[in-house]
C-alpha cells in the first residue's frame, strides 16, 4: 500500500485559557488515502469541525491554534509551512466545501466569476480558457445551463444549486484532498441526497481523498469508506464503515447509534379518541406589498385540512418552504389565516379577534424549534414558566409551585427555577420550553421542529420525554418536522406537505409502507442511510 495522502499525527488544537477544556482536539491521528471518503462523526463540541479547519489552516488563530502534532501532506508538514506556501497549497491541492453555501459565496460576485477567481490566482490561463474550464465544471456538477448559472449571483440560485457551485469551485483545481464540513446539513433531504450522490461520483472520477465532517449517521452510512468517531476532542473509535456502523465497539459509538431513530414505524395501538381539532381548508398567502410596485404572492398554505383525535400525534412533514411551519403558526394563531376553519371542540378559532381568542389561547400551546431563542435570556426559568398562567389570572405563588412540579415532570430539578437560561444546554432548554407550554394545561401541543437543533443523543431523550408526557397527560400533538426518522418514532398519522399543499395524508404505517404520491416516494427515498439496517445494540451494562 502506498503512503497515505494525508497523515495527521497526534494533532492537538489548543483552546484559549478559560475555555471549558484545554484542547478542542486532543491527540488526533488519522490517515486519508486517495480515492476514499473518511467521515469524521461527532456531536456538537466534539472538535470535528476544528480538525477540518486545522487542516485547511483556518483556525481562528492565535486564540485557537494547533499546538502540537503534524499534518503531513505530500511529504511536508502543513503546520510548519510558511503562510504563503500553505495558502498556495490550499485551493490548489487542498480545498474545502462549507456548510452554508449562501455565506460562503460572495453575494456581490457572479458565480462564474468567483470560480474563475481561483483560476486567476493559481494558473496563468487566458480568459477564454478559464471560462471554458468554469463552464465545463459547472456541467460536471450537473448544473443546468452552465452559461446562465455562471452569470448568476448566488441569491438567484437555490440552496442545492449554490452547493453545487461551491463544489465546482472547490474542484476546479482538481485538488487531491477535499474537506467537506457538514456540506449537506443546511439542505433539504431530497437535495441532500443529490449532493451526496454528486460528491461520491466526483470523488470516484477524480480519485480525490475526501474528509467528510458530519453529525448525521445516516449521511455517514451513505458515503463513508472509513469512519472516525470523535467525542470531546478525542477519537473514540476508528474503523471501516461496515465495522463502525454494524459492529461498533466503543460505548460512545454504540450509544450514538442506539439513539438514531429507526425508520421502522413504531407500532402504536390505533387511537380511537374523539376528534379534538379539525383543520379545514386553511389558507395563507404572503403578499409582498410595495408602494408602487405590484406585490409578489406566495401561497404558503393552500386548502390544508386534517383532523386530530384526542391522544393522537399528527406529523406534518415537508421540506423548507413547504408551508408546514405556516400551518403550525396559524393553529396557535401567531399568524392570521386568510381562510378556512380551525375547529377546536366546535369553536372556530380562525376568525376570532385577539380579545375573543384570549380565553382559548390556553388550550393550544406551542413548543419552539430553537432552544436558544425560545427562552428570554434575562428572565429566570421559574418566571419564564409562570408567565403564561400569571397572565391568565393564576396567583403567582400557585403558578410558581406548579412550575416546580412541571420542572420535575420534564426531568429537571425543581431548584433550577432560580437560574437563568444561559446555564442550560440545548436539550435542557427544550425541556424548559416544554414545561412552559405544559404550564398552560393545554389540550393540543404544537411542536415546531422541537428536536431539529439538538444532537442525536439528546434528541432521543427529548422525543422520549415528549411521548411519555403525551401519554400521561392525554395530550394531542401536532408535530412539525422535516426528519422522517423522527416522524417515524413519534407520529400516528402523517401529513406530507409540498409547496403549501397537502400531497399525502394517512397513518404512519400506510405512508411509509405504501406512499401514494410521487413526492412522498422521493422524500422516503432520500432519507440518508435508508438502506442501512441499524443494528440492535444491547445497552451494555458497563456504558
Amino acid at each position: 500500500m502506498t503512503a497515505p495522502l494525508v497523515d495527521i499525527r497526534n494533532l492537538h488544537v489548543a483552546l484559549p485559557d478559560g475555555a471549558d477544556r484545554p484542547y478542542a482536539v486532543e491527540d488526533l491521528s488519522m490517515t486519508l488515502n486517495a480515492g476514499e471518503i473518511v467521515c469524521v462523526v461527532g456531536e456538537s463540541g466534539s472538535g470535528k469541525s476544528l480538525t477540518a479547519r486545522a487542516m485547511m489552516g483556518l483556525l481562528p488563530e492565535p486564540r485557537v491554534r494547533a499546538s502540537a502534532g503534524q499534518i503531513i501532506f505530500g511529504g511536508r508538514d502543513l503546520l510548519q509551512l510558511p503562510k504563503h506556501e500553505r495558502r498556495l497549497l490550499c485551493g490548489e491541492q487542498l480545498s474545502m466545501i462549507f456548510q452554508e453555501p449562501m455565506t460562503a459565496l460572495n453575494p456581490l460576485m457572479t458565480v462564474g466569476r468567483q470560480i474563475e477567481e481561483v483560476l486567476i490566482v493559481h494558473t496563468s490561463l487566458s480568459a477564454a480558457e478559464r471560462m471554458e474550464r468554469v463552464l465545463a465544471l459547472l456541467a460536471e456538477v450537473h448544473l443546468p445551463d452552465p452559461p446562465r448559472i455562471a452569470a448568476s449571483y448566488p441569491h438567484q440560485l437555490s440552496g442545492g444549486q449554490r452547493q453545487r457551485a461551491m463544489i465546482a469551485m472547490a474542484l476546479i483545481m482538481d485538488p487531491k484532498v477535499l474537506v467537506a464540513d457538514e456540506p449537506t446539513t443546511a439542505l433539504d433531504v431530497t437535495t441532500q441526497a443529490q449532493i451526496l450522490k454528486l460528491i461520491r461520483e466526483l470523488q470516484h472520477l477524480h480519485g480525490t481523498g475526501v474528509m467528510f465532517i458530519t453529525h448525521d449517521f445516516g449521511v455517514v452510512a451513505e458515503v463513508a469508506d472509513r469512519i472516525l468517531v470523535m467525542q470531546h476532542g478525542k477519537v473514540v473509535e476508528t474503523g471501516t464503515a461496515d465495522q463502525i456502523l454494524n459492529r461498533p465497539e466503543a460505548p460512545y459509538t454504540r450509544a450514538l447509534i442506539r439513539a438514531i431513530p429507526s425508520l421502522t414505524p413504531r407500532s402504536r395501538t390505533p387511537i380511537e379518541g374523539v376528534p379534538i381539532l379539525k383543520v379545514e381548508d386553511l389558507d395563507k398567502t404572503y403578499r409582498q406589498s410595495g408602494l408602487l410596485a405590484k406585490g409578489r404572492e406566495v401561497h404558503a398554505a393552500k386548502d390544508v385540512s386534517f383532523t386530530l383525535k384526542r391522544g393522537e400525534t399528527i406529523g406534518i412533514v415537508g421540506e423548507s418552504g413547504s408551508g408546514k411551519s405556516t400551518v403550525a403558526r396559524m393553529i396557535v394563531r401567531l399568524l392570521q389565516p386568510d381562510g378556512g376553519r380551525i375547529d377546536l371542540h366546535g369553536i372556530d378559532l380562525a376568525p376570532l379577534s385577539k380579545r375573543q381568542l384570549k380565553p382559548h389561547r390556553r388550550r393550544v400551546q406551542m413548543v419552539f424549534q430553537d432552544p436558544y431563542a425560545s427562552l428570554n435570556p434575562r428572565r429566570k426559568i421559574g418566571e419564564i414558566i409562570c408567565e403564561g398562567p400569571v397572565a391568565n389570572g393564576v396567583p403567582k405563588s400557585k403558578a410558581m409551585a406548579r412550575a416546580r412540579e412541571l420542572l420535575g415532570l420534564v426531568g429537571l430539578k425543581p431548584e433550577v427555577a432560580e437560574r437563568f437560561p444561559h446555564e442550560f444546554s440545548g436539550g435542557q432548554r427544550q425541556r424548559i420550553g416544554l414545561a412552559r407550554a405544559l404550564a398552560m394545561d393545554p389540550e393540543v401541543l404544537v411542536a415546531d421542529e422541537p428536536v431539529s437543533a439538538l444532537d442525536v443523543s439528546v434528541q432521543a431523550q427529548v422525543l422520549e420525554l415528549l411521548a411519555e408526557i403525551r401519554d400521561r397527560l392525554g395530550l394531542s400533538v401536532v408535530f412539525i418536522t422535516h426528519d422522517l426518522r423522527v416522524a417515524a418514532q413519534v407520529c400516528d398519522t402523517i401529513v406530507v406537505m409540498s409547496k403549501g399543499e397537502v400531497v399525502e395524508h394517512g397513518t404512519l404505517a400506510e405512508v411509509f409502507a405504501d406512499p401514494k404520491h410521487a413526492y412522498t416516494r422521493e422524500l422516503l427515498a432520500s432519507i440518508p442511510g435508508k438502506d442501512w439496517q441499524i443494528p440492535e445494540l444491547a445497552e451494555a451494562g458497563a456504558v
Binding site: 400551546q365 406551542m366 408567565e387 403564561g388 397572565a391 436539550g427 435542557q428 398552560m440
Partner: protein, 296 residues
C-alpha cells in the same frame, strides 16, 4: 451512559456583585473609556462642589476685567471682570443637568415611539415613522434654535428643544431592535400564552433592547451638551444661568487680546464631550462583547 445523560450545570447563579465586577472588567479593558470615566467624574465633582468653592453668583464681578490666567484667578477674568473658573464650575452644573434631563426625556419618548412602531407594525408603524421623518428632515441645530427662539430662552425651553431634536434617532434605533426581537421565539411563546401586549413590550422585549439604548443615550448626553453650548453661544441660553457656551460667546470678541476667556470654557466643553463619548464607547464594548471580539 454518563456521556449522554445531560448534567445539571454546577455552580450558583452569579449574584449581583459578581456581575457588576464582571461588567467593570469588560469596561476596564477599554483603557480610553476608563480615562473618559475619570474625566467625567472630575466634571461631576466640580459641578457638585461649585456652590461650595465659589459661593458667589458667577455673574458677580470678581476683580479687574481681563486679568490673565494663573495669577490671582486661576483661569483669569473676562471682559466684565467675572472669574472664568467660577463660571466653568457653575457652567458644569448647567451643562450636565441640561444634558442629562434632555437625554432622559428624549430616551423615554423615543423608546416609547420606537417600541410602539416596532411592535405593532402596520399603519401604526407607518404613521409614527412618517412623524419621525418630519422631525429628522429639519437640521437639528437650526430646529433647536427655532424652538428656543419661539419659546423664549430658559432652561425648560432649552431642554424641550434638545429633547425634541434628539428623540427621532432613538425611536428609529428602538424600532429596529423591536422589529428583530418581536419574531424571536420567546416573544412568540408569550403571545401564544395570551400575555398582554404591554407586558410583552415591557418585560420580554425592552430589557433585551436596553444595551444599545444605553449606549446611544450616553452619546446623546454629549450631543445635548454641545447643542446647549451652541445655543448659549448664540445668546439663546437662559440669561440667569451661567453656562460654558455663554462664556465662549462672551469672550469671542476679545479672543486675540484675552484668549483665556474663550479657551478654558471651550476646553471644558471639549473634555466633557470627549469623556462622555469615550465612556459611551466603553459601555458599547462592555454591553456588546461579541462585537468587540469580532473587531480584534
Amino acid at each position: 451512559m454518563t456521556d449522554l445523560t445531560e448534567q445539571l450545570p454546577e455552580g450558583e447563579a452569579p449574584n449581583l456583585r459578581a456581575r457588576a465586577l464582571g461588567f467593570w472588567r469588560l469596561f476596564a479593558r477599554n483603557r480610553p473609556a476608563v480615562l473618559g470615566l475619570a474625566i467625567l467624574i472630575g466634571v461631576i465633582v466640580l459641578a457638585a462642589i461649585a456652590p461650595i468653592i465659589y459661593p458667589d453668583n458667577p455673574f458677580s464681578l470678581a476683580g479687574r476685567p481681563m486679568s490673565p490666567p494663573f495669577g490671582e484667578w486661576i483661569f483669569g477674568t473676562d471682559t466684565l471682570g467675572r472669574d472664568v473658573m467660577a463660571g466653568i464650575a457653575h457652567g458644569a452644573r448647567t451643562s450636565l443637568m441640561i444634558g442629562l434631563v434632555a437625554t432622559v426625556v428624549a430616551v423615554v419618548f423615543g423608546t416609547l415611539m420606537g417600541a410602539l412602531a416596532g411592535y405593532y407594525g402596520g399603519w401604526i408603524d407607518d404613521l409614527l415613522m412618517r412623524i419621525t421623518e418630519v422631525f429628522q428632515t429639519i437640521p437639528s441645530f437650526v430646529f433647536a434654535i427655532l424652538l428656543v427662539a419661539i419659546m423664549s430662552p430658559s432652561i425648560q425651553s432649552i431642554i424641550i428643544a434638545i429633547a425634541v431634536v434628539s428623540w427621532p434617532a432613538l425611536a428609529r434605533l428602538v424600532r429596529g431592535e423591536f422589529l428583530s426581537m418581536k419574531n424571536r421565539e420567546f416573544v412568540q411563546a408569550s403571545v401564544v400564552m395570551g400575555v398582554p401586549d404591554w407586558k410583552i413590550i415591557l418585560i420580554q422585549i425592552l430589557p433585551n433592547c436596553l444595551s444599545p439604548v444605553i449606549v446611544a443615550g450616553s452619546l446623546l448626553v454629549a450631543t445635548a451638551i454641545l447643542i446647549e453650548s451652541g445655543l448659549s453661544f448664540l445668546g439663546l441660553g437662559d440669561p440667569n444661568v451661567m453656562s460654558w457656551g455663554f462664556q465662549v460667546g462672551a469672550g469671542r470678541t476679545v479672543l486675540r487680546r484675552a484668549w483665556w476667556i474663550c479657551t478654558f470654557p471651550g476646553v471644558a466643553i471639549l473634555l466633557t464631550v470627549l469623556a462622555i463619548n469615550l465612556v459611551g464607547e466603553g459601555l458599547n464594548d462592555a454591553l456588546n462583547p461579541r462585537l468587540r471580539e469580532r473587531k480584534g
